[in-house]
Symmetry: C2
Subunit: 638 residues, 2 copies
Amino acid sequence: DEESLLLASTLVLDAKRGRNLEYILGNKYVKSYIFYNEPFLRWILYVFIALDLTLAIFEEPAVPNASIPYWGTMVMEFACMCYFSFRILHAMFFQYSRVFFKDAKNIIVMVSIVLTLIDMICYIIWQNMSPDTHPVRWSRPLRPLFIVNFPDGKQIRRAFRNIRRTVPDIMNVLFLFLMSVLLFGLLALKLFAKRGLKYPTGIPYFSNYFDSIWDLYVLVTTANNPDVMMPAYDYSKWFFIFFLIYLILCLYIFMSIVLATIYNNYKKNLKNEIRAAVFTKRKQLAKAFDILKVSRHDEHVITHSRWKQLMGLLLPNKSAAHTDLLMKILDTGNKNVLDKKDFLHLSDLLHLPLSEVKDRQTLFEKYFPDVYNHRYSELFKRFVRHKAFRYLFDFLIVINAVFIAIDLDVADWFFLSIFTVEILCKLYVFGAKEFFLRFWNIFDFLVIGSALMASIIEKATEKANEEISTLDVLLVLRVMRLVKIFGSIKRFKVILQTLVNIGPSIVTYGGVIFVFYYFFAIIGMELFSGYIHYYGYDEQYIGSHGTNKMLFCGNVKLNNSLFYKAHYCNNNFNDIVQSMVVMFELSVVNQWHVITSGFVLVTSKVARLYFFAFHLCCVVVVLNIFIAFILEAFILEY
Amino acid sequence: DEESLLLASTLVLDAKRGRNLEYILGNKYVKSYIFYNEPFLRWILYVFIALDLTLAIFEEPAVPNASIPYWGTMVMEFACMCYFSFRILHAMFFQYSRVFFKDAKNIIVMVSIVLTLIDMICYIIWQNMSPDTHPVRWSRPLRPLFIVNFPDGKQIRRAFRNIRRTVPDIMNVLFLFLMSVLLFGLLALKLFAKRGLKYPTGIPYFSNYFDSIWDLYVLVTTANNPDVMMPAYDYSKWFFIFFLIYLILCLYIFMSIVLATIYNNYKKNLKNEIRAAVFTKRKQLAKAFDILKVSRHDEHVITHSRWKQLMGLLLPNKSAAHTDLLMKILDTGNKNVLDKKDFLHLSDLLHLPLSEVKDRQTLFEKYFPDVYNHRYSELFKRFVRHKAFRYLFDFLIVINAVFIAIDLDVADWFFLSIFTVEILCKLYVFGAKEFFLRFWNIFDFLVIGSALMASIIEKATEKANEEISTLDVLLVLRVMRLVKIFGSIKRFKVILQTLVNIGPSIVTYGGVIFVFYYFFAIIGMELFSGYIHYYGYDEQYIGSHGTNKMLFCGNVKLNNSLFYKAHYCNNNFNDIVQSMVVMFELSVVNQWHVITSGFVLVTSKVARLYFFAFHLCCVVVVLNIFIAFILEAFILEY
Ligand code: NA
């Protein structure tokens, strides 16, 4: 009986938390499942996933001064694989085999672990046999799969499912779009090749089919507009019409259709996901009900005593009065028992923020009730709660802004202490619990708290001559303080509140984008690391102080290139951090063809395929899904 | 009685055509209103509006070789104003004064006419007093108002109404966005100014507040990414975080919110517009019903004889059988009379493409029925209608594509005649009416027909040495032929059909964008014409063959500028056509800051305001509305 109670409470918790792992309904398995859901096990998983991904910093090509011998990172990676294996075997234990092995994500995790181990063995052998042949750790692009495919990364997996379901639908549009590029490429080749035009850099203009379609593909991203048009336009004004039609069709119409398709799918998938989640939740609660129910007057119900036992497991810290109240809320017919229909609302009820009076007391009130409830204290509390208090500090921020704008830094200790006092007052009056519920309070606390700490460090150490000093951090924190003004302006409140609400989802999409970035960054490092270095651009200085090999970003092929002239040498794949920066720059799209051209010069034109694949995956698909998500989030919130 | 019949039929026509001008319900006024709606009067209006806008080609600064003395364009403009006045006075005649003068568009047209006339007088005086002071025709930016504010431009006006209603809602987001730019600008100034960094061109990096916010505003358009980051990033990798946060916030989040707001408003407005249009239509039909109704058995109905009279006016060419059929369709209760509810469906019915047998006959069938219905002819028709016929010609296009790709132009006469034969066959079998109903047939007819004509001209004249010859046109037409393959591929059909369906609306938005372009182009010509010229970029050639004034695009200030190095000199405001091209380039956004920098160099930094205003109006607002329109159109069609 205690066993069934445990099972029921686990099912209710599953419903509340939106978990949908199917486990064997035996006591041993349920206990294992409960253990599996222990937060500390999940946190250890997160730490190991993070560690596994972080290894790219220490492996060759490593971030400068962070290189570790290969056996060092391998030991760490092996530890990760061990914990991942433990985790997946644990999940295998409490699930039916047929369920477990039908789940693609379990297979993917197991295959990834095996491949990683094989790769490690291969690498060790290769490294010891012929280290000069640049041994390849080919399993590294698989690492982000662990983020996506462990059951704990539900939000991210949902986003990936969304992408997977959207791709077939946009295939038609993308295919039509690529066909159009091919057709226009042919046309451009026919029109321009025979005229022998040249770009300002002297490169021939639309001289072969591969260059022709590449230039036109880049044009859809607008990155080489209007440069790609100018030679033809200088030749004859009529050629503008060619580019006009191409851009209207491929950029404005096709790309909008891609967005429309993605947005439409996103909405549809969102609806289905919510429907599926609600269905799972009801199924779990119905199961729990069936376990707890007793027969009474031809009806299946849950009695008050059963309810108390269940609550004892679910809410062990709450008083009997509280759990009785919860039952009263559910018991719509005032029958003092819960029927199935009542019980199905339980998971929503558990989400309601019902707090008891003792919870609402501030810590200070609890331990010093006499002081806190004293007459003067009451007066002070009324003052702090009054809107004049808010206006006063809003006014002080404006004054602070003026001081910052006219570079009067001397007063900053004054402002810092004033705003610290504000936070302390609010903490006293509202208590920590209520204080930290509001976004702007957290913001304030972080900005002022960090500034306070940084100021103290700054006073204490007094070191300078570093690239970035504590002073710079202080400066940023000082200006960030001004952001609070936005929070006080009424017309911005809806927008900012929406932003705060969708913040967690934005972070999820950040995770999705990180997965793609990491995948492409690792591949990019294998393909392009070491070709381009940053040694500064002062050719005379390098000529006299360095070796000739350091000229032109360490690669003479870059001489006279746009890449070198634009000072893009730090946009390279020499370590994971710089690669990630390049990924971001490629996502912003502008000048991505110049970055590409640099790596084409030092390798070959085939390198374009890598950048093309990145653009198609990350910009056309993923970024548009992100925009669809923001669109829908804002439309729903408004 | 005849008068009321005329009024009723006019009301029904109003409902059918979606006209919503309110006129006085007297015979004289109705007749005037009917005359006002005569197509030829509207077409004359369109011609005069087009003429008025075209004048910019001939006025100073004129397109090369198209200059006309100022009195020439003034005579034409005066003619336009006369016709506009006639048109607006005509509308004034049949409307109640209070209705007429409450309508903003009438006021705008009248004020524009008056201002134009004043401007013309001013200009003549100024021109004759002191022609050297560069007299300004300041009323020219008002010209596009005539497109928008005559009642005939309903579609365009609806789009403008949409923009007007959307602007207040995005003000908050835009304001928050601009405030963020100001704040980040302050931060960037504080962080970077003291470090004395420089851009590759030697320009100081974030050295003053105005430049700082300009660079960051340009960054939101992505146009100077990653260039704007590189000096700081080369200095310290940590500064990447600043640009990352800025771009995520201002580009990805704020700009998506702007799109979301615009899209949301667009949907809302669309719904309201449709609701209002339906309401107006019902009101007009109800009015018509009230005029025609007779009392019978306590009910108001329209009798059969009344119906016949009405149809005699509305569909004078249709047979009695046809109009009786229409009445039967409306007469849901089989009462042989129409009650009000029946009658309200009339306008939808008039939109149905009901054709009589005699309409369905092809012209050939009508005049040579024996030949057309002969046994062999029937066999031939069955062959043309068979899908093998389509496959055959699809196959021939593919062959044609191969010939074009491998540059085998000799066979083109063969393909051209084959495809001409295809069109003739289809015309014979389906008749012109049915043939020209399909988009792909029209496309085919135009492409093949033009190619045929161009080929004949080419053969006949045999002239060469021109910038663009008939051969180029032929080439384009030849490649365009291949587009027909897309129409045959099933998976593309939905997309292409949607494109064809929304085509007219896209043209409407083209009109909207034209209005903004024209407005900004005229102002741009007043501000920037004559500063930058295109003389080619071969400095040695110019040095020896031309004057020194022709160096650096005719302006020594452009020496060493990015604008000159990128060969952007043809992106100038020297005539309306080139200005329009610049407008389009600015809309595509890429490198717009380089174009701006050229005009800043030859004038002053204040020039940035013009380009900023263009970006905010045309890109942030208008282009997003266009994207919202495409989004909604595709989501509705799918
Ligand atoms: Na761009």
